[in-house]
Symmetry: C2
Subunit: 136 residues, 2 copies
DNA sequence: AAGCAAATCAGAACTATTCGCATTTGTGGG
DNA sequence: CCCACAAATGCGAATAGTTCTGATTTGCTT
């Protein structure tokens, strides 16, 4: 029983081949941020016959189970990353496409305060900074 | 020559019926935030025969001309609003769908600083707070 | 090892948006 | 004021991303 198997069990999900493989791909990918299509290609390149529909279905379940997070940058496809329990926001380089994670406690606090000022309770947020290399 | 006509001329766009009507709809809509489909329906209800493709085309041109702003909330359709030149971010009520605008100079500054710290220059950002009524 | 619910596959369907092309519509020049 | 011509439009088809459907397979329970 591998580590991935245990994670799936813990999440109350049956341990199937597609699920294990997708979890491994997400854990081993270099920059931690992949689209469903990226994962589908990675599966295809390695061996198996996993349909794109399964990739989406599994990712949605993983999200519901708290194993991965889904983000929507601008208008492209959604990107997925392993949820390590450390909340962070993203910065995307408009020239290289590079994704950088960051966390700022002050911004988080201000968000709470702004919601409260308008009579609401914050339940979530999405913050993406679009940036370019300093000198260009 | 109406006000809308002048705005279009100033933006270097030919004054056509679809463009004038779409601009009016956006200016008169109650909460200032509409999807392309909303606008298409509003046109349909009033009278004319404007295709959905034209609605999208015109909105894209308006955006390029700085007349409207497009925003992508989560994974639904894009929403459009008249650009009054006052930058603001959005808060969306997860229960009522209500959209509330806000602006916070401090958050804006922090964003600049964070980008700079990582060696980048901020070129844009997207911040959406998902909220619910305080007592529920 | 058998049974059964859960998961998967392939392909169709769906939503949001854009494209191609034949037709129509504004606009500047005469 | 009218004409010509580029620009804009309408419609339907195309695309991208994602979800659904229904028949088949797979993994957990005993």
């Amino acid at each position: 029983m591998t580590l991935e198997d245990q994670e799936l069990k813990k999440a109350g999900l049956k341990v199937t081949l597609p699920r294990v493989k997708i979890l491994q791909i997400l854990e081993n990918c270099s920059d931690r941020h992949m689209t469903a299509e990226d994962i589908y290609q990675a599966l295809r390149d390695s061996d198996g016959d996993v349909g794109i529909a399964t990739v989406y279905r599994v990712l949605t379940q993983f999200e519901a189970a708290g194993l991965v997070e889904r983000h929507n940058f601008d208008n492209g496809p959604a990107i997925y990353e392993i949820d390590r329990g450390e909340h962070h926001d993203h910065m995307v380089c408009t020239e290289t496409g590079k994704v950088i994670e960051f966390h700022d406690a002050e911004i988080e606090n201000l968000q709470e305060r702004i919601a409260a000022e308008k009579g609401y309770q914050l339940v979530g947020h999405s913050l993406v900074l679009y940036v370019k290399p300093k000198s260009s």
